[in-house]
């Protein structure tokens, strides 16, 4: 029997790792993967709370989060490919044409 808070702590650690990756990484694709990590942490929270409150709508919501993540990653990766074609780099620091 595992207390619910253990699941929530695991979800929090995954989310924190996702945010850290988003802030410290410079490669666009790795930043995108940190966003996916954050979404996964949140999914775990949803399923854990669904188990605690016996509400299956938590699991249905996870399904929707996954569908939205799929759509977002498809479009996001297409944008990354388009940026790579024009700027020839995958480093976010170098995509700075609008900088003063």
């Amino acid at each position: 029997m595992v207390p619910l808070s253990y699941y929530l702590v695991l979800s929090g650690i995954l989310f924190a790792c996702g945010v850290t990756g988003f802030l410290i990484k410079r490669n666009i694709i790795t930043i995108f993967m940190s966003i996916e990590l954050m979404l996964n942490g949140v999914n775990l929270s949803f399923v854990a709370f669904a188990a605690q409150w016996h509400a299956l709508s938590g699991q249905v919501f996870v399904f929707f989060v996954m569908v939205v993540a799929a759509a977002e990653s498809a479009v996001g990766l297409a944008i990354i490919i388009a940026v790579y074609r024009t700027r020839e780099t995958l480093d976010v620091d170098r995509v700075n044409l609008l900088k003063l």
Partner: protein, 178 residues
Amino acid sequence: MLHLIVFSVFGLVCVAGAVNLLVQRHPINSALSLVVVMGSLAVEYLLLGAEFVAAVQVIVYAGAIMVLFVFVIMLLNAGVEDRTKGSGVALLFGIPGMLIGSVLVAWVLLEHSGTESVAVGALPGSPKVIGWLLFHDFLLPFEVTSVLVLIAIMGAVVLASQPGSVQPESAQPDKREV
């Protein structure tokens, strides 16, 4: 007892994969650690009884979305990241800040959540029941997400196509008579 052991083992694998994603400098290693994280999360979902969600996690997330990521990394030939001034500053302030924040959140959660435990397979989410919910109570979000996915498909095809290859027929002058 066995529940706690299995939870801890796969929880440690999750956290190790997440930390490995941060530490690795080549994006392909980060992508593969993320696949490991998703696999162990699927096991955690199974422990909570959400079998359909676990299967969908493996099929959709680990088997399709991450394959897309690996494809793009292979296509664009992404190399090792290099250190810039901005990334050094972010490392210096970001990592301690995140550590302090997550320790605080973990402490609050562990202190104030009482002793509710979740049994193995606490809420069995069989495909039949989830399908019923999806098509009765959540029909509108289901249809809206399907339209969303359709828009995403069209957007991705247009954005990733070679410039000049997706044009309406009338825009191309007939160049054959030279």
